[in-house]
């Protein structure tokens, strides 16, 4: 049986969610997504400009399931309206809810995030909030109806990896909804670690978009997520402070 997980009744076999921002061009984006084989691809909603027929992202990404986000929103009002616009534009009631509290770190404003989650859930949305790596906040988000929680590994776009593995592991142990590690991934081992810690999936963007070879990194991420998940299921050995030989200690030559 395929190893899958479920968010809001929808089953996913791929455990990699990809962002679509910051790629050198649309072809590299498409090649990278094809290499990553993501379960979902996030997109932002922005005011239309009058560029006369740039290929529409919706047409380009026709083969993928799109997840609109509320990236950059700093108020509940803006985030809710952006979510509603995303629902209309992409014909989906799923939303990656971002409510930014600080421009420097792009840290979530958890107080507003909680209220916006509650409001959008009441409006019929499947809400996936981008949140801090705080088990208590993740629990509160799930309590108001978040379909999954998406704690940050480290700030968006930094590539600093998982700054607090303990917190992520605790969230995975205690969460009543799926956990998607979102933000901070720098390279494949970060994605593998997220899965080893017990995350259900990983969402990343910059690590691939800004890699020297994005398509190659996208494939690396796909392998990393699979490897990390397999390692998690296989069960890692406990850490020891003293060495233990793996070769027999009897029958040594000499002496």
């Amino acid at each position: 049986m395929a190893d899958s997980f479920v968010i809001a009744g929808r089953s996913f076999t791929s455990r990699l969610f990809m962002g679509s921002g910051g790629y050198p061009n649309q072809q590299v984006l498409l090649d990278s997504l094809n290499a990553a084989e993501p379960a979902l691809v996030t997109v932002a909603l922005r005011r239309i400009s009058l560029e006369p027929y740039a290929e529409s992202l919706v047409d380009l990404l026709d083969d993928f399931t799109l997840l609109p986000n509320t990236a950059g929103c700093a108020t509940i009002k803006d985030a809710v309206l952006t979510a509603q616009l995303g629902r209309e534009a992409l014909e989906t009631n799923w939303v990656k809810l971002e409510l930014i509290g600080d421009r420097e770190t792009l840290y979530p404003d958890v107080e507003q995030l909680l209220r916006a989650t509650e409001e959008l859930v009441k409006d019929g949305f499947v809400v996936l909030p981008y949140c801090t790596d705080d088990p208590v906040m993740c629990r509160k988000l799930a309590d108001v109806g978040a379909a999954a929680v998406m704690p940050l590994g480290s700030p968006i776009g930094t590539g600093l990896g998982i700054a607090n593995p303990y917190a992520i592991e605790r969230i995975c142990v205690t969460s009543s909804v799926p956990v998607v590690l979102d933000a901070g991934i720098g390279t494949a081992s970060d994605a593998a670690l997220a899965m080893e810690l017990g995350c259900d999936a990983v969402l990343l963007n910059t690590a691939v978009a800004k890699a020297r070879e994005p398509q190659r990194m996208a494939a690396a991420m796909r392998h990393a997520v699979t490897a990390g998940r397999e390692a998690r299921l296989a069960g890692r050995i406990p850490k020891r402070t003293q060495a233990e030989p793996s070769s027999p200690q009897l029958g040594l030559v000499g002496g």
Partner: protein
């Protein structure tokens, strides 16, 4: 002074009667991927034709862009 509406944060003269006319004047014919809000409420594509515009209206016209 002519009546003004605010489209994507910029004031402009009110020339269109409906949301559909406003979009059409901008070369937006296909609703796919495009969403519109009028004074903070989303107007579904099916209602663009019958949704009238008035002086002081605030309109947001958005579409998906690359994002994380």
């Amino acid at each position: 002074m002519s009546a003004l509406i605010r489209v994507n944060g910029k004031d402009e003269a009110l020339a269109a009667q409906t949301v559909a006319e406003l979009l059409s004047a901008r070369g937006i014919k296909r609703p796919k991927g495009v969403a519109v809000a009028l004074n903070g409420s989303v107007i579904p594509a099916g209602a663009w034709e019958k949704t009238g515009l008035a002086a002081g209206d605030k309109i947001e016209i958005v579409k998906p862009f690359g994002g994380g």
